[in-house]
């Protein structure tokens, strides 16, 4: 219990002393996670809507696979990306390994299924409501998807925020492809893992608290800006 309190104290101390290393790490965490969320949303949201709107032969299988991919083990994703980007891999020439780009790629792979799956669920309900109307108006597939994404934007925020949370808390994959190189690719989670392996558990916990605070702050800001949970459902 003492350790936990110490951890909280450490977190507080770190923040108020404005430790420049800490802020560098935070900035990298935000940069990587927000970029990953942007890319993953651009893929996942339309994909979720597309799956809600279309009936095709392998739909159930696709959705089950997507649900399963939500739990894609980060380490496996990390390995996969590592093998693709490593010098002997197919994209080795790009020299992306151990750069923020590599971390973003890994995170995109991890959170896209999550975003697609949650948004699919939200859109499915809205589609049940709009189905007859949009079909009757002879809206094209693209128009249907656009209408659903637009009118369901509030619910889609949850999907995006879930993706952000997952991304910023992720460690297994970015450790492998990013390498947690000091002043270069170190982010909060890999710093936490490092301090843990050093046995500096209180410090690690302190960083963890900083991370959670960061995630809460981003969530609150976005909820605040979008007004979800304040106004009625839309």
């Amino acid at each position: 219990m003492d350790s936990i309190l110490q951890g909280l104290g450490q977190a507080f101390w770190l923040i108020i002393t404005f430790d420049p290393d800490l802020y560098e790490i935070i900035a990298m965490s935000l940069r990587v996670s927000l970029s990953a969320v942007l890319v993953a949303s651009a893929i996942g949201l339309p994909l979720g809507a597309w799956l809600a709107v279309n009936r095709f032969r392998w739909r159930r299988t696709t959705i089950a696979v997507l649900n399963a991919l939500m739990g894609l083990p980060p380490v496996v994703v990390g390995l996969f990306v590592y093998l693709l980007l490593s010098r002997s891999g197919p994209f080795g020439v790009l020299g992306l390994l151990f750069t923020p780009s590599a971390m973003i790629i890994a995170q995109v792979i991890i959170i896209t299924p999550l975003i697609a799956s949650i948004s699919h669920q939200a859109i499915r309900d809205l589609w049940a409501e709009y189905h007859d109307l949009l079909i009757s108006m002879n809206a094209t597939r693209g128009q249907r998807i656009r209408a659903l994404l637009w009118d369901g934007r509030r619910a889609l925020l949850t999907a995006t925020l879930a993706g952000f949370g997952r991304a910023i808390g992720e460690v297994g994959a970015i450790m492998i492809v990013g390498g947690s190189i000091e002043h270069s690719t170190r982010v909060l989670t890999t710093a936490i893992a490092l301090e843990t392996s050093k046995g500096n558990l209180e410090f690690a916990l302190g960083l963890g608290v900083v991370l959670i605070a960061l995630a809460v702050a981003v969530n609150m800001t976005i909820h605040g800006l979008s007004g979800t949970e304040r106004a009625p459902a839309w």
Binding site: L97, S180, L194, K198
Partner: protein, 250 residues
């Protein structure tokens, strides 16, 4: 055999990576009836687990930290068991030319001079501490774009070096068991400065009454015994022996 008694021992990743455990544990079970559960973590974390009483003994390789641990009363005593050595790994074509170096310090100087990429564990582990002591022995304060502290375990460091085609210091066991060598090769070894002593420390039952001090002692006896000596000295990977048994019987 009858239902085994179970004890837990924290070991460092490099020990686990060597594969020696797979040979020792069944023999221990056979001879003593003890089932040893290995908790594989970084050196710092291993000592921390010992200090908290979460394991019954630790097997690590970081002299200074071990002594601190003992000084704080967390362990009953320290027993040296065996050693292996550290080696310098690097790109096959050896751009810094360390293969011909006289000493470890000389090799590191050449790396620094060539500004060749060097991956450091950067995690305060036994290996990392050793590396830092070697740098300071060479009179170099490693810094700059070529020096990459990655803050991760031995395996991760090797994987990173392999992908970057960089130099890296590793214990011999991890290197030999490492499966992702690509263009890396063992370039320098043999300097006595690269010795890596493993020591066994039972956790102090005075602080933690629940620890299985009895089992820890029985295990220690086995570890310093003849069977252990035979197995440790005889353990080979790719035809190379990895560890040298150096426990002193009391």
């Amino acid at each position: 055999p009858a239902r085994a008694e179970v004890m837990r021992m924290a070991v460092t990743t490099s020990f686990e990576n060597s594969g020696l455990a797979d040979v020792l544990l069944p023999a221990i079970r056979e001879d003593t009836g003890i089932e040893v559960q290995l908790v594989v973590v970084g050196t710092g974390q291993a000592l921390r687990l010992g200090a908290a009483g979460d394991v019954d003994a630790v097997l690590v390789h970081a002299r200074a930290a071990e002594e601190e641990f003992l000084a704080a009363g967390h362990g009953t005593h320290r027993r040296e068991i065996m050693y292996n050595d550290f080696v310098l790994i690097g790109p096959q074509d050896d751009p810094a030319g360390i293969a011909g170096a006289e000493s470890a310090a000389e090799a590191l100087k050449r790396i620094a001079a060539a500004q060749a990429l060097f991956v450091s564990r950067g995690d305060d582990s036994g290996t990392h501490k050793k590396e830092l002591s070697l740098w300071s022995a060479a009179g170099i304060d490693p810094a700059g774009g070529w020096y990459r502290p990655i803050g991760a375990g031995m395996g991760a460091a090797l994987n990173t070096a392999s992908a970057m085609n960089a130099y890296v210091m590793s214990d011999r066991a991890s290197w030999l068991n490492f499966g992702n060598k690509s263009d890396l090769a063992l370039l320098f070894a043999g300097d006595p400065a690269l010795f890596n002593q493993y020591a066994y420390i039972p956790v102090n039952p005075a602080l933690h009454p629940h620890v299985r001090a009895d089992l820890a002692l029985r295990l220690e006896e086995w570890l310093v015994g003849a069977r252990a000596k035979e197995l440790i000295n005889g353990y080979r990977v790719n035809g190379e022996s990895l560890f040298v048994f150096n426990a002193v019987s009391k």
